[in-house]
Structure formats: structure tokens, C-alpha cells
């Protein structure tokens, strides 16, 4: 694009150019290695513990029959689901924060999570009174409803907050207002439900990886495979947006269109993550900021955020299952870690403002 960064040689291929950043690559690769380790440990833990070496042997295709069944049918989908959901959330958060140029935004504040929650709960409660259709409905209808609900809520928030451009703060506050209304609807649906439904719904609403199988893994994987490359390509436009709206327009960037496209991708990613595992909050807020601090740079890195998100969700699930006991959903762990981090970010900002 412009003059090369001092000491870094740009890699050019036709119209595309990039800079080799060893620190980012190191963070991504190190994170991946850590993810494999934690993932293997998580696969090994459970009612029937399997040693780390055996897990790796089974994954390589050489294990006993029982172990292979337990791992490939029960444990692996759960861990993979966590990996993909975390990655989707991390990327969604990185895009949102990059577009809004604000570390406090995330798909959670966009209303995606609460919209998905209301829609899924509606399916669970209103349609969940039938007999044999329930299983099918829960398997297909619930994730679909969550996806649609998340998209609709985000569209509502963006529509209401859009006023001569996107102001990050207006965005956050409008999202907050909408999500309070959605939470009210949620508590109404909880009252309507019977006890079993309510207990199921409350677990779902906290974001849990319990009993996730391949049918949950595949949709998120498909979405990630399609959306992630597009996001990485489109994210180059963020470089122009980083310069400010006027400068970006001067460079020939269609500012509002790029923003809406990128936000759309973030919302799709977050909503499909929600559809698979329920709303696992604060992952999308925290991981982009953490990976930004690890890699350096001007805005949250997509790939590193994906790895960090996956790592956070899988580790959180492992902690929830082993330390806290089986009943605690992973979403509780991420909130307990993420909410204080948000408070820390706020206090730091406030200090800076007043200094």
C-alpha cells in the first residue's frame, strides 16, 4: 500500500501486499500448540480417564476400540465444538472491535447473544410440548432459530444506532437497551415453561458444551470455513478505516459499505457460534484485546483472536468440568473471567481520560 515499514520487507503478489510479522506468527503457532495440548487433555478427562499419550495415539488412528468410540463419538465433538465456537467468537469480536475502533464493543453488545437466546428459548418453550417431534425440533429448529434471532437482533441494533455514521458509543448503548428488552422476553418465556424446560433453557442460556455432538460441530465448521477467508480479505479494508472516515473516503474506500459488510460477517459468526453452544459471553470481548496485546499492532488480529477464543472456551470447559463439577456451564467461567476484565478496561480508560 504505502511505503514499507522500516526494517520490514513487504511481500507482494499482484495487487496484494502483506508484511511478515514474526511476532504474530509466533503467537498464532504457540497458541495452536497450546490449544492441541489443552484439547487433548480435555478429551482425556471425564468419567473414563484416558492418558494424554493414548489420546494422541487414538487421534492418530491407532487405539483400542473402546477408547476410539469414547473419544471420536463423545469427547472429540465436544472439544471440537468448543474450538470452533471459540474461534468464531474470537474472530467476530476482532472484526467488531476493528470496525468500531473501540475495545469495548463486541457481538454481545450488538444484541446477537440475547437475540439468539430469546429465539432459541421460544422454540424450546413454545414448540417443546409435542412428543417425538421434539428431538428433531431441538436438533434442527433450535440452532436455526438462534441463528435467525441473533441476526434479527443485530439488524435491529445496527438500524437503530445508525445515524449519520456509526458511533461506537451510541452502538453500545442502543445494544444495551435492546438486550434489556430481550432479557425481559427471556424471563417471560422462562415463566411460561415447565420446570424441565426451564432448567434446560437456563443451562442453554448460560452457554454450555454439554452433550454436543458432530451435528453441532459441522454447521459452525462450515460457517467458519466460508466466512473466515472472506473476513481476512475484507479486513484489509480496516487498514484504511483505521485512518478515520474522511481519510478512508479520500483513499477511495466505501466506508459505510465496508463497515456493514464486515459487521455482517461478525454477526453471522457470532450467531452461528451461539446456535451451536448457546451464548458464551465475553469471549468475543476479551480475546481480541488479549491477542492485540500479545501481537502488538493497531487493531485486533483475526487469526490470533480465533486461536485465543478457541483456547479460552476449551480451557474454560475443562475447568468447568474438572474443577467446578459437571453441572457448571462453560459460559459461567467465561463471564467470571471476562466481566472483571471489562471492568479493568473501563477503569484504565477512565484513569486515562481524567489524567
Amino acid at each position: 500500500m504505502s511505503a514499507p515499514v522500516a526494517g520490514r520487507r513487504p511481500l507482494r503478489a499482484g495487487p496484494v501486499s502483506a508484511v511478515w510479522r514474526p511476532r504474530t506468527a509466533f503467537v498464532v503457532l504457540g497458541g495452536l500448540a497450546l490449544l492441541v495440548l489443552v484439547g487433548a487433555a480435555s478429551v482425556g478427562r471425564g468419567e473414563y480417564p484416558i492418558a494424554l499419550a493414548d489420546v494422541l495415539r487414538v487421534l492418530a488412528g491407532a487405539g483400542s476400540r473402546g477408547e476410539t468410540f469414547v473419544i471420536t463419538q463423545l469427547r472429540l465433538p465436544r472439544v471440537l465444538c468448543g474450538v470452533l465456537v471459540g474461534a468464531a467468537l474470537g474472530v467476530a469480536g476482532a472484526i467488531t472491535q476493528g470496525v468500531a475502533r473501540n475495545p469495548l464493543t463486541s457481538p454481545d453488545v450488538l444484541g446477537v447473544t440475547d437475540g439468539a437466546g430469546v429465539a432459541a428459548l421460544a422454540v424450546l418453550v413454545l414448540a417443546g410440548t409435542g412428543g417425538s417431534a421434539v428431538g428433531l425440533l431441538a436438533a434442527v429448529g433450535l440452532p436455526l432459530a438462534a441463528l435467525v434471532g441473533g441476526l434479527l437482533a443485530a439488524a435491529l441494533v445496527v438500524g437503530l444506532a445508525y445515524r449519520q455514521g456509526l458511533d461506537a458509543f451510541r452502538f453500545i448503548l442502543v445494544g444495551l437497551g435492546i438486550s434489556v428488552a430481550l432479557v425481559s422476553v427471556t424471563s417471560w418465556l422462562l415463566v411460561l415453561a415447565n420446570v424441565q424446560q426451564a432448567s434446560l433453557a437456563l443451562i442453554w442460556l448460560r452457554g454450555s458444551l454439554n452433550a454436543r455432538g458432530w451435528e453441532h460441530v459441522v454447521p459452525v465448521a462450515v460457517v467458519l470455513v466460508i466466512v473466515l477467508p472472506i473476513a481476512i480479505v475484507l479486513a484489509f479494508r480496516l487498514d484504511a478505516l483505521d485512518l478515520g472516515d474522511d481519510a478512508a473516503r479520500g483513499l477511495g474506500e466505501r466506508v459505510d459499505r465496508s463497515r456493514v459488510q464486515l459487521l455482517g460477517l461478525a454477526v453471522v459468526l457470532a450467531a452461528s457460534a451461539c446456535a451451536a453452544a448457546g451464548p458464551i459471553r465475553f469471549v468475543a470481548l476479551v480475546t481480541p484485546q488479549v491477542s492485540l496485546r500479545l501481537t502488538g499492532g493497531s487493531r485486533p488480529p483475526l487469526l490470533a483472536s480465533a486461536v485465543a477464543g478457541a483456547l479460552l472456551v476449551v480451557t474454560g470447559d475443562l475447568v468447568a468440568r474438572t474443577v467446578l463439577g459437571g453441572e457448571v456451564p462453560v459460559g459461567v467461567v467465561t463471564v467470571v473471567l471476562g466481566a472483571p476484565y471489562l471492568l479493568y478496561l473501563l477503569v484504565r480508560r477512565t484513569r486515562k481520560d481524567s489524567a
Partner: protein
């Protein structure tokens, strides 16, 4: 009530404040919703039956409905609404922040968390037992918010405060639901209580929390002068001889009592503390001596009106008052932000 656009450099419009008109309107509205609240409900009652029940009860079913169910419920609505309205004024005054509200800032969440903690883990069953836990939770959350407010010189921006409230409420909600998950009975009780409702509470309950609310209101009125001075900023207030720490402490205790008591008896009810002060301020201006009594009135009207609406929309079932206010209050909140009544 014109739409004042902040940021345009126009001379400030001097709105004439009409406190007596506002008081009259408020009392009129309260009378209407009280009548509706006593006359409307799942079991149909004629106006004549209601009148008989109030004046000359004979023990007929309609008498029981009116005297045992609707009357206490109405009184409780007035009490909770007044408490939350005044708590909202105090929070907005002390944080100098137009988006402050006991619900949005996590104070109701703190009270709710401690109530659930006491009922599920410690086995407390009656209000007199867990109201203290509600106070403790509300006080802790309020302290957190006030501290965050003090961390910056000009006070936190609305966004900072709103997000801090979000973080605190999300954290408390996650912990609360972790406690009730997997425990059938407490989960069942929790979901009804968490919706924020006034039904089935009984007159005894209202009487039990009444002293706390009254004490909170007295403290709020004692806080009026300090709030007016604090509106100029903390440094100016000190310069004018105001004991800021004491004023904050009184405000904190009052918010704790009002919010804690209303959460203990009716569950978390949002948006009253946000809407009531804004409505009153647009009528009578920012002087707290007028704001506090009128916000109590408007808060009571809001809660009762929402309760009546909740009884009507899904008949014969009921929509809890907290749910109605959440759904109705959110557009108000969004409008505040879109109309730029709030400087971001």
C-alpha cells in the same frame, strides 16, 4: 416538551417549571391507576362489587379478591415504584449521569444475587431474613459503582458507567444462575421471582419492608441540598462547604435501602429508576427538592400502570410487572440515546 438537541449552539430555552401542575397531574394519574389496579384482574368484578368490597364487605368471593389480593398488591406497587423512582434520582444525581438506574447499574443484580444466595445456599425463607442479604448485595454493588464514579475527575461517562453496570450484572447473573442450576425447586422459585412480580405477596410482606423504604425516603430527602450542590461538581461542592463524603454516604445508604427492599419483596424491576427522573425533570427542572417527591409519584404510577397492563395483555395469565417495564422501558432508553438527550 420540545426535543432539545444537545450540541447545537442555541441559547438555552428556559422552560417554565410548573411543579404544582406536575404534582396535580401525577396525583391524578396515580388515582387512575390505583382505581384500575383495584378494579381490573383475572376474575371479573363489576364496579359495584368493588365498591361493596371496599365499603361494606360481606365475605363474598369478590370481596376476598379485592381486599386480600388487589389492595395489598396495589399498595406494594406504590411502595416499590416510589422506592425505585427515588433511587433513580439519587443515582443519577450522585453519579451525575443521566443513564444511572438501579437495574442497569447492577444494584438490583447485587441484591438479587445475595437473596438467591441466602435462599438456596443458606436456606433462609422469610423476607425479614433475606432482606438483609438484599441490602448487603445492593450496598456492595452500589459501592462498586460509586467507586468507579470517583475514579475519574469529571465523573464517568454514560458509556463507562453503563458498561460497568453491564459487567457487574452479567457477573452476578452468571453466579446466580450457577447457584440455581441443577436444583429443581430453587430454580422454579427463582424464575418467577426474577421476572419481577407483585402478585401473591400479601399485605404482611408490604408492611415488613415498609419501614426500610420509609427510612430510605427520609434519607433521600435529607440528601436534597447536597445533591443540588453536587450537581456543580465535587470540587465546587467542597468549595461551597459541602461535606462530600457524608453526602455520598447518605446517598449510598438511601439507594441501598430503597433498592434492596424493593428487590427483596418484588424481585428485580428495571427502568423505573431511569424513566421516572427523566419524566419529572422534563416537567419541573433539575432541583432535587422537587425531583424526589415527584419521582416517587411517577415511579408509583409507572409500576402500577405496568402491573395493570401485565394483567390485561395475556389474560387470563399475567405478565410480570418487571417484564412489562423491561419491554416498554427499552424503547425509552433507546430514544434517549437516539435523540441525543444523553451526551455520549
Amino acid at each position: 416538551m420540545g426535543t432539545t438537541v444537545v450540541g447545537r449552539l442555541a441559547p438555552p430555552v428556559r422552560r417554565r417549571s410548573r411543579p404544582w401542575l406536575a404534582l396535580g397531574l401525577g396525583l391524578g394519574a396515580l388515582a387512575v391507576v390505583v382505581v384500575l389496579s383495584i378494579a381490573v384482574g383475572a376474575s371479573p368484578t363489576t364496579p359495584g362489587q368493588v365498591w361493596d368490597a371496599l365499603v361494606a364487605p360481606t365475605g363474598a368471593p369478590s370481596d376476598v379478591v379485592v381486599r386480600e389480593l388487589r389492595l395489598p398488591r396495589t399498595l406494594l406497587g406504590i411502595l416499590v415504584g416510589a422506592a425505585l423512582g427515588v433511587a433513580g434520582v439519587l443515582m443519577q444525581g450522585h453519579t451525575r449521569n443521566p443513564l444511572a438506574d438501579p437495574g442497569l447499574l447492577g444494584i438490583s443484580g447485587g441484591a438479587a444475587f445475595c437473596v438467591v444466595l441466602s435462599t438456596t445456599v443458606l436456606g433462609v425463607t422469610d423476607v425479614f431474613g433475606y432482606v438483609w442479604f438484599a441490602f448487603a448485595g445492593a450496598a456492595l454493588a452500589a459501592l462498586l459503582v460509586f467507586t468507579l464514579g470517583a475514579a475519574s475527575r469529571g465523573g464517568p461517562t454514560p458509556v463507562t458507567l453503563a458498561l460497568a453496570g453491564l459487567a457487574v450484572s452479567e457477573l452476578l447473573l452468571a453466579l446466580t444462575s450457577a447457584m440455581v442450576l441443577g436444583e429443581g425447586p430453587s430454580l422454579d422459585a427463582y424464575r418467577f421471582w426474577a421476572a419481577g412480580a407483585l402478585d401473591d405477596r400479601g399485605a404482611a410482606l408490604t408492611l415488613q419492608v415498609l419501614p426500610f423504604v420509609l427510612l430510605g425516603l427520609v434519607l433521600a430527602i435529607a440528601n436534597v441540598r447536597a445533591l443540588d450542590v453536587l450537581a456543580l461538581g465535587e470540587d465546587s461542592a467542597r468549595g461551597l462547604g459541602q461535606d462530600v463524603t457524608r453526602a455520598r454516604l447518605v446517598g449510598l445508604v438511601a439507594v441501598t435501602l430503597l433498592t434492596g427492599a424493593s428487590v427483596a419483596v418484588a424481585g428485580p424491576i428495571g427502568f423505573v429508576g431511569l424513566v421516572a427522573p427523566h419524566v419529572v425533570r422534563s416537567l419541573v427542572g433539575p432541583a432535587h427538592g422537587r425531583l424526589i417527591p415527584l419521582a416517587a409519584l411517577v415511579g408509583a404510577v409507572l409500576v402500577l400502570a405496568a402491573d395493570v397492563v401485565g394483567r390485561l395483555v395475556v389474560r387470563p395469565a399475567e405478565l410480570a410487572v418487571g417484564i412489562v417495564l423491561g419491554i416498554v422501558g427499552a424503547p425509552f432508553f433507546v430514544a434517549l440515546i437516539r435523540r441525543r438527550m444523553v451526551k455520549l
